[in-house]
């Protein structure tokens, strides 16, 4: 039987799971922002990583077909997207029930009916539009959380409602979302994949008769091929999918890390500090790494490693979490936009407004001041992003500076504006020859390091 290893990173803001095989290859990723408790968080992340692993194993199994046939590749990609959508849809249905509950216990009479009407309308519109984004926009690969996806759309829908309804609608949302987020929903992989393929086949069948807009699928050459072939692909895939669905993904050992690690029911050898895990993960992905900067939800770590990936020194922010992921979350709230919109907006800036406050709370006051004097949102955001990076730079300096190569990890590394300033300032301060690494799995580095420690536990 093949051996797999699990790394769990229970961070301050999100919990991550990574499954690797015996060669340290990542085969499954899972992430959740649930704040329920660390046990639920671990389970949600682990289950997601297991589903993801099945798809990875499927793709590895069918590597030849995928490489030689674009329609085959496309079909699998679409199955995975619809699979993710169906998970989303189940939660949305749960949320819808929760909405109704909240409305009936909070409001009465005409107001209740009106609010119910609005909410039902919103839910019915969110479903299809999100399916479309899963299929065409690869929403599933963006590691967006249920809350982010729904709230972005919900907020847009209620923006025009006027103040009589805006507040109650926000209340309904805030009261309902947390429950759904904190719930552990287990899916039957096989059932969900079958459902996904059935949905997809209907879509493909409809391609001939309708325009691509109605089908929710952008029309392109791969689809053109699929139009005639999907039945044959489906028939040949069915068996393979059945095989991976039935696979026992046996976790031989696991290691937990992150702030919640002490709460995991793991033996002592299976609990590692996140400093070691982040460094180990980053070093595994980029073996020439000597300095790691990790910006997470509530802390920033500057870590120096040697050629083996062993930590030689580290430095973390103390007493103040300004400059971390939560700072960005707070700022997004202040601007009433989603976290994902922050970076792109900041990149559009024509200048950087100077932000003086080193404190998250004061920064919010400063933002209002700056908006009042007519500064542009994007320019303020650019200044804020720069301020965060300046804090990280000071931490790096204190940890011993930047040595070649430099690897940037953590959830915040996905923010393009932060990345831009980190790159600019590292090159400016430590020389143009520094190679800067950022991986698309940057948020998973701690969990990856954990999984790699788990594999070594077994070897040793």
């Amino acid at each position: 039987m093949k051996k797999y290893f699990l790394g769990i990173d229970l961070g301050s803001t999100t919990s991550k799971a990574i499954i690797i095989d015996e060669n340290d290859n990542i085969i499954g990723r899972g992430i959740t922002n649930t704040r329920a408790n660390y046990t639920v968080a671990t389970e949600i992340a682990r289950l997601e990583a297991t589903y993801n692993a099945r798809f990875t194993l499927l793709k590895m199994k069918l590597q030849d077909e995928i490489e030689s046939r674009p329609d085959y590749k496309r079909y699998i990609r679409d199955v995975e997207s619809v699979f993710q959508y169906l998970q989303f849809k189940r939660r949305l249905d749960r949320l819808s029930v929760e909405f109704r509950d909240t409305i009936s216990t909070t409001f009465s009479g005409e107001k209740r009916d009106a609010i119910s009407g609005y909410v039902d309308g919103i839910v019915s519109r969110i479903g299809p539009s999100v399916l479309d984004e899963f299929l065409t926009g690869q929403l599933g690969s963006k590691n967006q959380f249920f809350r982010d996806i729904v709230s972005e759309r919900y907020n847009k829908e209620i923006a025009g409602l006027g103040k009589d309804f805006f507040e109650p609608m926000m209340l309904v949302y805030d009261k309902s979302i947390t429950k759904v987020e904190n719930e552990l929903t287990e899916y039957d992989f096989r059932e969900l994949v079958d459902h996904s393929m059935a949905l997809l086949n209907d879509k493909y069948a409809g391609l001939g008769e309708s325009s691509s807009e109605e089908s929710g699928l952008a029309f392109d050459s791969e689809l053109n091929l699929l139009k005639g072939n999907y039945k044959r692909i489906y028939d040949s895939l069915k068996g393979h999918i059945g095989f991976v669905a039935g696979l026992d993904i046996h976790i031989t050992d696991m290691v937990g890390t992150g702030y919640g690690r002490a709460l995991l029911p793991f033996p002592e050898k299976s609990i590692r500090s996140e400093i070691l895990c982040h460094a180990f993960g980053a070093h595994a992905v980029f073996p020439d790494t000597r300095t790691v900067l990790d910006i997470g939800g509530q802390d920033t770590k500057a870590i120096q490693v040697d050629s083996h990936g062993l930590v030689t020194s580290f430095y973390m922010n103390d007493r103040c979490a300004a400059g971390c992921g939560r700072y960005l979350g707070y700022i997004a709230d202040e601007f009433n936009i989603s976290l994902n919109e922050l970076g792109p907006l900041a990149i559009e800036a024509t200048k950087e407004v100077n932000i003086c406050s080193t404190c998250t709370v004061f920064a919010a006051a400063e933002i209002r001041e700056l908006l009042n004097v007519g500064q542009k949102r994007s320019d303020i955001l650019a200044g804020l992003h720069r301020a965060i990076v300046m804090r990280a730079m000071s931490l790096l300096a204190r940890s011993g500076g930047v040595r070649n190569e430099f690897t940037f990890t953590g959830g915040v590394a996905r923010n393009q504006a932060v990345l831009k300033y980190v790159s600019d300032l590292v090159l400016q301060n430590y020389g143009k020859d520094i190679k800067i690494n950022v991986h698309s799995d940057s948020i998973f580095m701690g969990a990856l390091g954990g999984a790699m420690f788990a594999r070594r536990n077994v070897i040793n």
């Binding site: 400093i275 070691l276 930590v311 973390m316 103390d318 011993g400």
Partner: protein, 427 residues
């Protein structure tokens, strides 16, 4: 905390010594003894005692208040008195204690000062501290002994002459005036002979950490070991006896291959040997210590135990040159060394005592220690390729001790050391 804390014989002796000292202080009015407030770094207690006066060390009182969980309230009162959040918490704790009746650690009142002897000026806060005391005790005479910093890595004859001149012209006359006694050089020499013996004992004691397992913890227990010499007993025969007894006990521990004593008994397994830079946190001293001994970490040397004076580099007081000795002793205290000297001293400790790691406890209140620590860390890492750890806390302000932050960083640090050991052992 458990009630039956393990204690060494010397600890009991020490407790009696300190109790007697505070008793003498509380009855100073009746016995007519004069009281001199002074500081620990470079404390010239021999001179004070040669005039038959009693020393009081405000820092010791502050740290005692911290350990007895009183500093939080004292600091709050001092802040209400106008001292800002950024002022050294030793000062605020001391001021708070005075506002509240100046009750010392043994529950007895500490008498007002008859003289303020500012014997170490390397810490700018000390100057301000005594200015505050001067306001709190109007009319009290102040003797200022300016201590030149070892800027050029050494003490020059001019620096010594400059300090001797101050002793002769400023300090001794004020002491004669306050005590009503004449300066008695023979008495001072006799005290210095005791100091010289004590200094040698201290060196021997802290040198025992060369053994494996180390018989003592040179930081958490070390701060108790330096208690007598830094709280009124420099130059006394009691100090000679105490340190002789302590050394004897430690030698017995070595013979029995015993590790250091912790509040929960003898440390069973020595897993990590560390050199620590910076003062400890006093408000959560036990919790702080526990984080180390639970992990099998023993401190084999610490800079803080050299805060009163540094004897590692060969310095001893010379009874034949009493005033010159006092001057050089003052200039030789740890925080009066320049940064390069501190790096050299720490790197000697790391090498001599075979440390696995170097840890800095950076103290918010203390510029004398904290300034330059990052540079020290980087130099040591580069020079010795030793793993470095960094934590932050404060002396006596309980608001600045974050247990979870410190635990989190220490866990990472210890795992880092363990990983390194595994690799080294494999190679």
């Amino acid at each position: 905390m458990s009630k039956d804390v393990a204690k060494e014989r010397s600890m009991i002796i020490q407790k009696e010594m300190i109790a007697n000292h505070f008793m003498a202080l509380s009855t100073a009015k009746e016995t007519g003894k004069k009281v001199v407030y002074t500081f620990v770094p470079g404390n010239i207690s021999e001179l004070i005692l040669s005039f038959d006066m009693l020393p009081v060390y405000p820092e010791i009182n502050a740290l005692q208040s911290g350990m007895r969980k009183k500093s939080g309230d004292y600091i709050r009162d001092a802040e209400q008195h106008g001292h800002s959040e950024d002022v050294c918490t030793y000062v605020k704790c001391d001021v708070g204690m005075m506002i509240n009746g100046n009750i010392g650690p043994t529950g007895e009142k500490i008498p007002n000062p008859d003289l303020l002897l500012l014997s170490y000026t390397g810490c700018f806060t000390f100057l301000k501290w005594f200015e505050t005391l001067e306001r709190l005790y109007p009319g009290v005479p102040v003797a200022l002994l300016h201590t030149p910093y070892q800027e050029a890595h050494k003490i020059t004859p001019e620096m010594t002459a400059y300090m001797v001149k101050q002793l002769k012209e400023e300090v001794i006359p004020k002491m004669e005036q306050v005590s009503g006694n004449k300066y008695d050089e023979e008495k001072l020499k006799a005290a210095l002979r005791n100091s010289s013996k004590v200094e040698q004992h201290i060196i021997n004691i802290f040198d025992t950490t060369k053994h494996r397992p180390s018989p003592i913890d040179a930081y958490f227990a070390g701060v108790y070991y330096i208690g007598p010499i830094n709280s009124g007993f420099r130059g006394t025969p009691q100090a000679v006896d105490y340190y002789a007894e302590l050394y004897k006990e430690i030698l017995e521990r070595i013979d029995n291959k015993l590790g250091p004593i912790t509040p929960e008994g003898v440390m069973e397994e020595e897993r990590f040997r560390l050199v620590v830079e910076g003062p400890p946190n006093w408000t959560h001293f036990r919790e702080f210590w526990k984080l180390f001994y639970d992990m099998g970490a023993v401190i084999v040397a610490s800079s803080y135990t050299k805060v009163g004076g540094v004897y590692d580099m060969g310095f001893r007081v010379n009874p034949d040159k009493p005033l010159e000795s006092l001057a050089e002793y003052c200039m030789n205290c740890y925080t009066n060394l320049n940064l390069q000297q501190r790096v050299d001293l720490l790197s000697k400790c790391i090498t001599d005592y075979h440390a696995d790691g170097f840890l800095v406890n950076s103290i918010k209140s203390c510029n004398s220690f904290s300034a330059g620590q990052l540079m020290i860390m980087q130099q040591l890492e580069r020079k010795l390729e030793i793993p470095i750890g960094f934590i932050e806390s404060d002396l006596v302000d309980p608001r600045y001790f974050s247990y979870s932050n410190i635990k989190n960083r220490l866990e990472s640090f210890f795992q880092m050391l363990e990983q390194r050991k595994m690799i080294i052992n494999r190679a």
